[in-house]
Symmetry: C2
Subunit: 558 residues, 2 copies
C-alpha cells in the first residue's frame, strides 16, 4: 500500500477490507463457470463428459478428500498422467485445498521422479496406470510416506492392484458440499513445475495464484477465448499447466476436449465431432497433422486457432495448415513465465501477405503477452537493451506478474535468474525495429566457428526449407580447424525424394552464408523431450562421439 | 504475503522482486496497444482520428504537461466534457502522471461543481466549451488556484477567451518522449466519481488501478471484446469512467467511436460507416434508437452487442432491437462497483425462447461479473442470505476487487457501506433459484401501502407493457388511508393511441395484484439524471405536492 502521506486525501480512510479486496485465484474460474453455465460441457474425455456443475462438484469432493488426508498450504500433490479428467480437475481441486500442484512429465525416469517427490515433499501422488511401473520403481527409491491414487481408466490396464485407492473412489470419500475459503494471499504457490530437457538437477519452478489467474486470462485475450471455445488438448497438460489453458479455457466457460495421445486420426475425428475452435502444441503436432495420410483427414467448416511454440513454423507448414483450416499463432514462453510470454501478434495487413512473407514475419516470436509488464533484448553484462535492428544478439529478458516466484529451495538459481529486476531467459535473440523479438538460440546452442557466431536455429530454419526435410536439429561439433562446426541431425519425410548429404549442404550454402552451412549431416530419428523439443544435449553428445566418417554411413539410414 | 512458516518450503526464498511483480494498471493498456497495433485506429471523433501510436504520444505529452504543472500522486484533475478525445485520453494520461481523474457530470449546476472541485482539491479542470458558462459560475464560487484547460472543438463555440490554455496547446507543452514510472501501488487511486441522482451532498467514490484494470478486462470477457471491437460511445464517458470501457476497449486494442450526443441519425450513420460491434447505454438510448423515424434508420450486416443497465428491457424493446440488429445484454452496477457488477448472462438455450420468454429471463439483473468475488441478497440486519426463491426481498450485496476503496473524506459512509465484509448496494432484490438476482427497488423506492411492500419497479415494468407508454416512473405518495400509495408519472409514445388514466390503471390491475396498481397517474416528461436515470426524488417531491385532482388536469398534457 502507498505510504500514508497525511497531505494526500486519497490515502486516508480508504483501506483494504474484505468487501473491496479479494486475492486473485484461478479456483474462482470453475466456481463462476459452474454458477453461470452449470449445464455447459466442461470436459469431454472419450465416452465420458461432465458439465461445469458436475466438474465443480467433483473438484469439491477432490479438495475435501485431500483435506481429509491433512493436505493444505505448503503441501505438494504430485500427479503423473496423460491428459484426462484427473489432471484437469487437479488444477482446481489441489489449490482449492490450499495445496500446490506438481504435475510431472510422464516421460521422466524413476530416479528423476523419486528426486522430485522428495524435493517437493509430496504427500500424495496421483498416477495414470500407464506409468505404474515407473512410479513403482520411483517409490522403491522414495520411501517417505505418500498416498498413491491410481487413475481408473479403461484406456489403461496396468496392474490394477497398484495404489492405495483409485481416483473415482477417492472423490467419493470427499464431501460434495465442502466449501473452502479462498486462498489468503494471491502470492501463495499454486503450482510447481520441474524444468526438463536440459542436463543437471531439475529446477522446480514455483508459480502463484495471481500469476496463474492473469496468464490464463491474458491467453484468452490473445487467442480469442469465449464461452464457445472448444479446446482440443494436443498439448500435454503437465507441461507448464498446459500453458495455463487448464485454467484459461475454464475462465471463459469453454469446453476442454481431453486427448491422451497425439494421434492424427483421433484429432481429426474430435475436431469434426466437437466443433473444436482452439488447439495448442509443439511444432511436431503440426507436422503430424500436416503429414497425416489423406484418408485420415476430415474436412471441417470452422477455422481452428492453433498456438505453437518452439521452432518457427516454416512457410510450408503455415500454408499447408491454413489449407486444412488452421490459423497458426506463434508464441514463445518458458515454464518460468507460466507458458506464453511473447506472441507474434497478427497485424491487420498480414491477410494480404504470401505464405513466404507470412512465414518470415511469423518466424519472429513476437511482442509481449498482455500480462507481461515489460520485455527487452539486452546485454546481460550491462543490462542495456541492444539496438532494435534485427541483428544485434542479446539475451531475452522479461518482467511482470507472470514471471515465477523462483526455483524451489534453490536461492542461488532464483537470484541469478531474477537478478536486476528482470527474468533472464537464457535465450538469445534480436529485437526488430517493430518491437518483435526473434529468438536466435539458447545461450548454449550458439555455435562458435572460426570466431563467428552461428545460430543453430538459423541453420535449422534453412534445413526446414529443403523439400525432403521433415525435422532437423543442429548442434556444435568439435572441429580441429574451426573450434566448432555445425552438425545437422535430419529426419526425412516418409515420401521424400532421394537426397544425400551433399545435396542438403549445397542447399544450405545456397540459402545462407557459406560458413553457416552444416559440415556434417546425420540421418535418423531425433531424440525429443515429452513436449516435443529436440534434446540438443543428446545431439551434442552424439555429435562429439561420431566416429570419423560415421555420418557417411548414417546417410544410408536416410 | 503469506506468513513465513519455516516448515513451508513454498514460502522460503521466493519473494516479490521487480522481476516478478508489477502493479496492475490500465495505463499499460494504451502502452501495449501502441506497441502491438501502432497503426490501428484508437479513436474516431467526427472528422478526426488517431492511431494507437498517436494516442500514446498524445497521452505522454498530456501526462508530461500535467507533471510540468506539478501534478502527481494525491492530486485530482477534473474534467467536464462530452465524449471526445480529451476525456478518453485523460483516462490514461492523468493516471500516467500518477494523479486522480475526476470526470464530472456535465449536467451538474455550478454550486455542485464548485463543491466537488473543493472537495477533491482539483488543481486542474479541463472544460468542454459547451459548459463554459456553468464552469465560470462555479469558479466564481471555488476561488482556490486552478488551471483551466479549454477543449478546442469546432462543435462548440462558446467564449474562446475562457481558459488558461487549450487542450491541444497544452499537449504541445508536454514531452512526447516522456516516460513515467508505473504506479508504485496498484491500490493507488485512479479515479474519483461523484454519485449523482440522489439528494444530499454528493459522495466521491474512490476507485483504484487494480480494480479498474480488472473490471475493464472482465467487461471484455463478458461482452466479447477483441481487437476488432468498434465501440460506439452512446454512454457518457464521465459516467463511472464509461463503465470502464474507456480502459477496456483499449486493453483489447479495439476502436473507440466517440459520440458527443445521443442522436439516432448520427448513431445509424456511425454504425454503418465504422462497422460498430459494441454499444452501451441507458434504456432511454434503446428507446431512442427503436423509436427513430424510419428514414433515419440504416441497415447494417453485423450484430451489435448493446449493454444496458437500469430498468429491465421490455420484451418489445428486446425484439424490436433484435430486428434492427442489436443483441441486448442486461447489466447491473453502480459507481461504487466500477460499473458492471452483475450480468444477465445468456444461457445456451435462450436462442429458442420467444421474445416474451426472453424478456422475462432478461428482466433479471443476473449473475456476478467475472471480477466480482461474491454476491448475495441478504437481510441487512442479520447478513444472512435470503432463500433463493425469487420472492424473498433482501439487499443486494457484493464483494471483490471491483468494489470501491470508499468515499473520499467520508469515513462514516465508507464504513457503513463496506460494513461486515460486503458492499451494501442499497438496492433491494430477490435471488432466483438459478442464481440470478432481480432488482426489486432501491431501499427508499419501496412503497409501503396498507402494510404491504410494493416494488415501484414492478409497477413500472407493468406500465411499460402498456402499448401507449414510452416511459414511466413510480413513487410513493402519502395516502391518508393506506399510508402510502403508488403514484405513476408517465410519458406516452408520440404516436400512441388516445388513452386515459382509468385505462392505464385498469391495465395494471389486469396484469398485477390490484393493491399494487397506481392510484394516481400523472402525464408529462420525466426528470432525469445525466445518465438517463429517472430522478425518483424529484418525482416523490412532486407526488406529495400534487393538489387534489391535479393529476386529472395533468392528464390533458399527455
Amino acid at each position: 500500500m502507498a505510504g500514508k502521506d497525511p497531505s494526500n486525501r486519497f490515502e486516508i480512510d480508504l483501506d483494504k477490507t474484505p468487501a473491496n479486496y479479494a486475492p486473485l485465484s484461478p479456483v474462482d474460474f470453475v466456481e463462476r463457470s459452474a454458477l453461470v453455465h452449470p449445464d455447459r460441457t466442461a470436459w469431454i474425455y472419450n465416452d465420458r463428459q461432465a458439465t461445469y456443475a458436475e466438474m465443480l462438484t467433483r473438484c469439491r469432493r477432490f479438495a475435501s478428500a485431500l483435506a481429509n488426508l491433512g493436505i493444505g498450504p505448503g503441501d505438494a500433490v504430485a500427479i503423473i498422467a496423460q491428459n484426462g479428467p484427473a489432471l484437469l480437475e487437479a488444477h482446481f481441486a489441489v489449490p482449492m485445498a490450499g495445496a500446490v500442484l506438481n504435475a510431472l512429465n510422464f516421460r521422466l525416469d524413476a530416479p528423476s521422479i523419486a528426486f522430485m517427490l522428495g524435493h517437493a515433499g509430496s504427500k500424495v501422488i496421483i498416477v495414470d496406470r500407464e506409468f505404474t511401473e515407473t512410479v513403482k520403481q520411483a517409490l522403491a527409491e522414495h520411501t517417505a510416506p505418500i498416498t498413491v491414487i491410481a487413475i481408473d481408466d479403461p484406456d489403461t490396464d496396468n496392474d490394477p492392484s497398484f495404489g492405495d485407492t483409485t481416483y473415482e473412489a477417492f472423490l467419493e470419500t470427499g464431501d460434495a458440499d465442502a466449501r473452502f475459503d479462498p486462498v489468503a494471499d494471491e502470492w501463495q504457490a499454486i503450482s510447481l513445475c520441474y524444468t526438463s530437457g536440459t542436463t543437471g538437477d531439475p529446477k522446480g519452478v514455483v508459480l502463484h495464484h495471481r500469476g496463474a489467474y492473469l496468464n490464463a486470462i491474458g491467453n484468452g485475450m490473445m487467442l480469442g477465448f469465449t464461452g464457445q471455445t472448444v479446446n482440443l488438448w494436443t498439448l500435454p497438460m503437465f507441461h507448464c499447466n498446459g500453458w495455463c489453458h487448464s485454467w484459461g479455457v475454464t475462465a471463459f466457460a469453454g469446453t476442454h476436449v481431453l486427448l491422451r495421445k497425439v494421434d492424427p486420426a483421433k484429432i481429426f475425428e474430435l475436431i469434426a465431432g466437437h466443433n473444436v475452435t482452439h488447439m495448442s502444441g509443439a511444432p511436431i503436432v503440426l507436422n503430424m497433422i500436416l503429414n497425416a495420410p489423406k484418408e485420415l483427414r476430415r474436412a471441417f467448416p470452422q477455422t481452428i486457432t492453433m498456438a505453437t511454440g518452439g521452432a518457427a513454423p516454416p512457410s510450408a507448414v503455415i500454408s499447408g495448415m491454413g489449407e486444412l483450416g488452421f490459423k497458426i499463432v506463434h508464441l514463445y514462453g518458458l515454464t518460468e513465465t507460466y507458458g506464453p510470454a511473447l506472441i507474434a501478434a497478427e497485424q491487420d495487413d498480414w491477410a494480404d501477405k504470401s505464405p513466404d512473407e507470412l512465414s518470415a514475419v511469423m518466424a519472429r516470436q513476437g511482442l509481449r503477452h498482455p500480462m507481461v509488464a515489460d520485455y527487452m533484448v539486452a546485454d546481460p553484462d550491462t543490462m542495456q537493451p541492444v539496438p532494435a535492428d534485427g541483428e544485434t544478439i542479446g539475451e531475452i529478458m522479461l518482467r511482470g506478474n507472470t514471471v515465477m516466484r523462483g526455483y524451489l529451495m534453490n536461492p542461488t538459481a532464483t537470484h541469478r535468474d531474477l537478478a536486476e529486476g528482470w527474468f533472464h531467459s537464457g535465450d538469445l535473440g534480436v529485437m526488430h525495429p517493430d518491437g518483435y523479438i526473434q529468438v536466435k538460440d539458447r545461450s548454449k546452442d550458439i555455435i562458435i566457428s572460426g570466431g563467428e557466431n552461428i545460430s543453430s536455429l538459423e541453420v535449422e530454419d534453412t534445413l526446414y526449407k529443403h523439400p525432403a526435410v521433415m525435422e532437423a536439429g543442429v548442434v556444435a561439433r568439435d572441429d580441429a580447424k574451426w573450434g566448432e562446426s555445425p552438425c545437422a541431425f535430419v529426419t526425412l519425410k516418409p515420401d521424400a525424394d532421394t537426397t544425400d548429404a551433399a545435396d542438403i549442404v549445397a542447399f544450405c550454402r545456397d540459402h545462407m552464408a557459406h560458413f553457416k552451412a552444416p559440415k556434417t549431416i546425420v540421418y535418423g530419428p531425433l531424440p525429443k523431450t515429452a513436449t516435443g523439443k529436440i534434446q540438443k544435449f543428446a545431439l551434442r553428445e552424439r555429435a562429439n562421439n561420431l566416429a570419423d566418417g560415421e555420418a557417411d554411413f548414417d546417410r544410408a539410414a536416410g
